[in-house]
């Protein structure tokens, strides 16, 4: 299509979030009045239309020549305040269009899935309203053309995740899980906000092109005030704090496991596919800043790869399916953060893995969801097993997801994870190799825990009681899983070492920092086989240990590891206890002390003044005892006083 046609299509990109916003508004305000099916239809329809428009925009973007695929358009001036001028505008470029596709695409699939999952819930329409609101805020996040609009989306998705985690608010645990998620996000947002303040203080604006112009200037090109190395590192680390909060990396990952309390489509959409990848988007969007300071890139990489390994160990010890998947998500996110941390080819590899993770993780979650749906909420592996025969489709699709995440050829998981490992290995920085080593170990653990889960739930003999009678989920739930399975198999082709289509597509965004495409060299083949080997090894050991798990062995194995360490490991290194004693309780004491201080200390001192005046009054009143002679003596006292004053003042000469 012609250039102007593409231009005015791109100009309408802001319609995508608008559709979802409008439908969210309609659904939440109508709430209960809109009966069961219609709420869902509106919700799913809105996201569907949004997806179609995104595809059209994607096509328009593709039609533009490679180097002109960046389209920025300002809608209106949002905040005019002295030096602080913020416009509400959007930026469509390869990076953001990919995320839009992910959000609306996977989002649509999951919306269709939840038509079945949420059926019968009395807050049916509100659920879809909140899901649409989430999709809209995620789109605002990726479409924003300056850091503040991005921050708006950033916090709004946090709020939506709070709402959706606590969707079944009747159980208090769900609502406190929601609170925990929001608080952790807010801590992250605090770091992000301070980072933004630092950017504004040094650069004077929050627009991407101004800030990155300054970054390029510091690297020696272009006009603009160069940013000092120290400030740049500080900015990057503060952004990292925000990223760890949102993408559940090591320090602030505690909330993701509890977030499983929400309905499964929520976990699939928000806590697997889209929201948690916001951190990756932020780092890749702000890559010029990270390019400035090598120290911050190293820290990001090691935080990422460290989390990948650490979370994988926890996932191995979990018994509930969704918690395993939660920790697996944290681990996979670790990979992505490490990829965009290392930079160069890592950026493209990270994005590649984000989308492939979007496919297979959503697939796994939907699988878990249909499994729980069938077993009426039962998800403890020790009471499952042998479901393959009863739920063939779910088992098969779950297997596809498992294979993909474990990095078994030909699924996209293999290609994207190895692209990351490759980027880590080939990066010029010295510590790249170390990160690659950790990554490889984590890949082995990933395959191990993934197939432990598969074998314990789907093979071996039945260990669920006879009151449960599982059955295959309805088609409306299986078809979305099928679509995702197809997606995860085909998506691998997007960035095969030879063609590197995705790499090329992202070139306008990352430009010189993007690093060159990978070719089929000997070394690349070697790396690929190493990754495959590790994955196959993991699957084999899992098969050996858990495939023919009988009821007793299933339970006994768990306890064979020495009890103390076992419990500690099983309860995810007891981070919750640490939080309870390290943060919540001292906080409670501190606020208690302050409240009492406020209550009496300040209050009493202030009211004390009043009391003091009253006491003084009472003393003086005692002197007033009614006898004339006392009055006269006070009177005379006054006269004597004045006489003394006169003498002192008047001097001699009476």
């Amino acid at each position: 299509m012609s250039k102007e046609a593409a231009e005015n299509i791109l100009e309408l990109a802001w319609i995508v979030p608008l559709i979802c916003l409008v439908s969210a508004g309609v659904l939440t305000t109508l709430g209960r009045k809109l009966k069961e099916p219609w709420g869902g239809v509106v919700g799913v329809g809105a996201v569907g239309v949004a997806f179609l428009v995104t595809v059209v925009v994607f096509a328009a973007l593709l039609s533009l020549p490679a180097d002109q695929r960046v389209f920025e358009h300002v809608l209106f001036e949002w905040i005019p305040a002295g030096g602080f001028r913020i416009e509400a505008g959007f930026l469509v470029d390869p990076l953001s269009i990919l995320w839009m596709l992910l959000v609306t695409g996977v989002g649509f699939v999951i919306h269709v899935y939840s038509l079945g999952y949420i059926a019968g819930d009395e807050r049916y329409t509100t659920f879809f309203g909140q899901m649409n609101l989430f999709v809209a805020s995620m789109l605002i996040l990726v479409l924003g053309n300056n850091f503040l609009v991005l921050f708006v989306g950033w916090e709004l998705v946090g709020a939506c995740s709070y709402l959706l985690i606590g969707f079944w608010f009747k159980k208090i645990e769900n609502s406190s899980a929601g609170n925990k998620a929001f608080f952790a996000n807010r801590v992250g947002d605090f770091g992000f906000l301070v980072g933004l303040m630092l950017i504004f203080a040094t650069v004077g604006s929050l627009d991407f092109d101004t800030v990155f112009g300054a970054a390029y200037a510091s690297l020696g090109g272009g006009a603009g005030v160069p940013i000092a190395l120290g400030t740049a590192t500080a900015i990057c680390l503060l952004l990292l704090v925000g990223v760890t909060g949102k993408s559940a990396q090591v320090p602030l990952y505690v909330w993701l496991a509890d977030a499983m309390a929400g309905p499964t489509p929520v976990s699939a959409l928000i806590h697997a596919a889209t929201m948690v990848t916001a951190g990756v988007y932020l780092i890749s969007r702000a890559h010029p800043l990270f390019a400035l300071s090598e120290v911050s890139r190293a820290i990001v990489t090691f935080v990422g790869i460290g989390t990948a390994f650490y979370a994988a160990t926890i996932a191995l010890g979990q018994y509930r399916v969704k918690r395993v998947l939660a920790y697996s998500t944290i681990s996979q996110l670790g990979y992505m953060i490490a990829a965009v941390g290392i930079g160069g080819a890592g950026y493209a590899a990270g994005v590649f893995h984000v989308i492939s993770h979007g496919f297979f993780k959503a697939l796994l979650f939907l699988g878990a969801g249909s499994l729980m749906h069938a077993m009426h909420g039962e998800e403890d592996m020790r009471r499952l097993g042998g479901l393959r025969k009863v739920m063939p489709w779910t088992a098969g699709l779950f297997l596809v997801g498992g294979l993909s995440i474990s990095g078994i050829i030909p699924f996209s998981g293999f290609w994207s994870k190895d692209a990351i490992l490759g980027a880590l290995y080939e990066s010029p920085e010295s510590w790249g190799k170390i990160a690659w080593g950790i990554g490889l170990a984590a890949a082995f653990l990933t395959a191990l825990y993934m197939f432990r889960t598969y074998f314990l739930t789907f093979t071996g003999d039945r260990s669920w009681g006879d009151e449960a009678h599982p059955h295959e989920s309805p088609w409306v739930m299986v078809i979305p899983m099928l679509v995702l399975a197809v997606g995860t198999t085909l998506w691998g082709l997007a960035d095969l070492p030879g063609s590197q289509w995705l790499h090329g597509f992202l070139e306008p965004t990352f430009g010189v920092f993007g690093g060159e495409a990978e070719r089929w060299t000997g070394e690349v083949v070697l790396l690929l086989t190493a990754g495959l080997l590790v994955g196959v090894l993991g699957v084999a050991t899992a098969y050996a240990v858990w495939s023919r798990a009988t009821r007793e062995r299933r339970i006994s194995f768990g306890e064979r590891i020495p009890a103390g360490a076992g419990m500690f490991w099983r309860k995810a290194y007891d981070v919750d206890a640490a939080l309870e004693y390290g943060v919540r309780r001292p906080g409670w004491e501190l606020t208690g002390v302050l409240a009492t201080v406020d209550e009496d200390a300040i209050d009493r001192t202030v009211m004390g003044i009043g009391g003091g005046a009253k006491r003084a009054g009472r003393q003086l009143a005692r002197l007033q005892n009614g006898s004339v002679r006392v009055y006269a003596s006070v009177f005379l006292g006054g006269v004597v006083l004045i006489a003394a004053y006169v003498i002192v003042r008047g001097g001699a000469g009476l």
């Binding site: 939440t28 709430g31 209960r32 209106f76 001036e77 949002w78 905040i79 005019p80 305040a81 002295g82 030096g83 602080f84 503040l148 921050f151 708006v152 916090e155 709004l156 709020a159 709070y162 606590g166 608010f169 009747k170 208090i172 609502s175 406190s176 929601g178 609170n179 929001f182 608080f183 807010r186 947002d189 605090f190 906000l193 301070v194 933004l196 303040m197 504004f200 203080a201 040094t202 650069v203 004077g204 604006s205 101004t210 800030v211 112009g213 300054a214 200037a217 006009a223 603009g224 005030v225 501190l590 606020t591 208690g592 302050l594 409240a595 406020d598 300040i602 209050d603 202030v606 009043g610």
Partner: protein, 548 residues
């Protein structure tokens, strides 16, 4: 605009002040006390009329002029140099608007008052008129009269229609504010005299005097301490929680919505412009007070077991942002503090109305009275409460976020560590708000009496929905408000810069290092400042001089 030109000489402020007062007097005299409801309806009518005039003022206000508009000037007590001077500028425009907007809702929201409804309406209307006067007055003496007069109606609102421990709260409120205004009175008298030329209380005259440093310090602190009682800043704040807990719904909504703003308005209108050098010197102390207020009040708020008292502490925390932004003395910061006042006025008044609705049903605003699970019984109420809770916690897309962001960004430029500590307020806000929400609404219904509660009726919605709409609108499109505030704020800050040039309190607004070629234009060119002088001459005019 022709409308603006036509009404440029409309005595807006006098109208805004005296329509409610005259209305109050008429209702007080004519309507028999038995017919409380008639008085109430008339009251709502009068305040709606006032709202109409406020809207007309908003439309007629010339957005890009930094000087006082709709100036009214007549001599009142020339003997003492006191003139009846009224004027509206960017700073006071939206505070007048906020007052005009909140009062009809307050009257509408206090439908349940049974005891002496007529006197209640009369007092509320009188309070509205007086508070309009505070924002409109540009003569120190006139300002002080309206400032003190706000004391009496609120005292009776809390004392007569309040909760169980209302007397102590009312007396405490009265004494705190009176103590504050004692400082203020002494400072006003002294300023009037020490200003050059004949004795005059017209701020356009006084602003021309460059007081010697020590005098400036004393006068500045006289004014500021008086205002800090009202803001309230932490050490002087212990009257607010009691006043809020005991005040009736309308009283709390006014206290939070408008009364707290008088203190800060005084700081912007009098303390900073009149004594710039002392203000610049006091900046670190006052920003520290603001930041302490943010963190301290947020922490104490978590331990409150009365919903209203908790919200009172949150408003102290929000006002901490306002004070911090104001004394950052950057255009962004001051503009942010004014916008935050507007936002805080809306959200906190909204929250108090909501708690008031529950109080109408259960006659208690203890968190235990909610007991959790109310969401199952009153979903709409819970939804609106959540919307307001998120607004108060500073969720982007709603007004508070814009206010807080501006104050934080404005302060960070000059005082990094203060802004960072203040930013923790964002976390604390999220925590206490959502924790309150959980204790009130989530989980199972534990308190039996709540089972039969009816959801919000039409009247209650008519009160809360306008606020919610404004909270959303101002969050998405604050430009209309910000661009009207900017010129006046810019003038104040550049005035401070101009007057502190060459003194050891030399102050230049910490500019963001402007990237590359783009020259970030903040301060208007100096030539325009001279042009202002000529303009001021016309403004000060008569009304101030004392005939010897």
């Amino acid at each position: 605009m022709t409308l603006a030109a036509a009404s440029s000489d409309m005595p807006f402020v006098t109208l805004l002040v005296f329509i409610p007062i005259v209305g109050a007097v008429l209702i007080g005299l004519l309507v028999p006390s038995r017919r409380g409801d008639l008085a109430h309806v008339l009251g709502v009518g009068v305040s709606l009329l006032n709202l109409a005039i406020v809207i007309w003022l908003l439309v007629a206000f010339d957005a890009d002029s930094a000087k006082f508009q709709f100036v009214e000037r007549s001599s009142w007590i020339p003997e003492l140099g006191i003139g009846y001077l009224m004027g509206v500028d960017g700073v006071s425009l939206f505070l007048l608007a906020l007052t005009g907007f909140l009062f009809p809702l307050m009257l509408l929201g206090s439908y349940h008052i049974r005891r002496r409804l007529k006197h209640f309406t009369v007092l509320v209307l009188f309070l509205e008129g007086v508070q309009m006067g505070v924002f409109g007055a540009t003569d120190l003496f006139l300002f002080f009269i309206f400032w003190e007069l706000t004391l009496v109606p609120v005292y009776f609102l809390i004392g007569y229609w309040g909760g169980p421990d209302r007397i102590r709260a009312a007396v405490k409120f009265f004494i705190f504010t009176a103590l504050g205004s004692a400082f203020l009175l002494a400072a006003i008298v002294a300023t009037g005299f020490l200003a050059d030329g004949p004795v005059s209380f017209n701020i356009n005259e006084i602003i021309k005097t460059d007081f010697p440093l020590w005098t400036q310090r004393i006068l500045f602190w006289g004014f500021t301490i008086g205002f800090l009682f009202k803001v309230p800043v932490v050490p002087f704040h212990s009257w607010l929680p009691d006043a809020h807990t005991e005040a009736p719904t309308a009283g709390s909504a006014d206290l939070a919505g408008v009364l707290l703003k008088i203190g800060v308005f005084g700081l912007i209108r009098f303390s900073i412009p009149l004594f710039p050098r002392a203000a610049v010197e006091a900046v670190p102390i006052l920003i520290a007070l603001g930041v302490v207020g943010i963190v301290y009040a947020a922490l104490v708020a978590m331990r409150q077991d009365d919903a209203k008292r908790l919200i009172a502490y949150t408003s102290i925390s929000h006002m901490g942002f306002v004070v911090m932004g104001l004394f950052a003395l950057t255009t962004t910061g001051v503009q942010g503090s004014i916008f935050q006042m507007l936002a805080h006025g809306l959200t906190t008044a909204g929250l108090f109305f909501l708690v008031g609705f529950f109080y109408d049903r259960r006659h208690s605003h203890e968190i235990a009275a909610f007991g959790g699970g109310v969401r199952t019984v009153m979903p709409v109420y819970a939804g609106v409460f959540l919307f307001m809770a998120f607004a108060s916690a500073g969720l982007p897309g709603l007004t508070n976020f814009v206010g807080e962001a501006l104050t934080l960004f404005g302060t960070f430029v000059g005082h990094r560590w203060f802004a960072i500590v203040a930013a923790t307020g964002v976390i604390l806000a999220g925590i206490y708000m959502l924790w309150l929400y959980q204790r009130l609404f989530n989980g199972e219904l534990t308190v039996e009496e709540n089972r039969g509660l009816k959801d919000l009726n039409a009247r209650e919605l008519a009160v809360i929905v306008p606020i919610a709409v404004l909270v959303l609108a101002l969050g998405i499109y604050p430009k209309w408000v910000l661009e009207r505030i900017e010129p006046s704020v810019d003038r104040i800050v550049t005035e401070v810069e101009r007057k502190t040039e060459g003194t050891d309190q030399e102050y230049v607004q910490p500019e963001q290092t402007s990237p590359g070629g783009i020259e970030v234009e903040t301060a208007p060119a100096p030539s325009e400042a001279e042009h202002d002088e000529a303009e001021d001459e016309a403004l000060s005019g008569t009304g101030g001089e004392v005939s010897p």
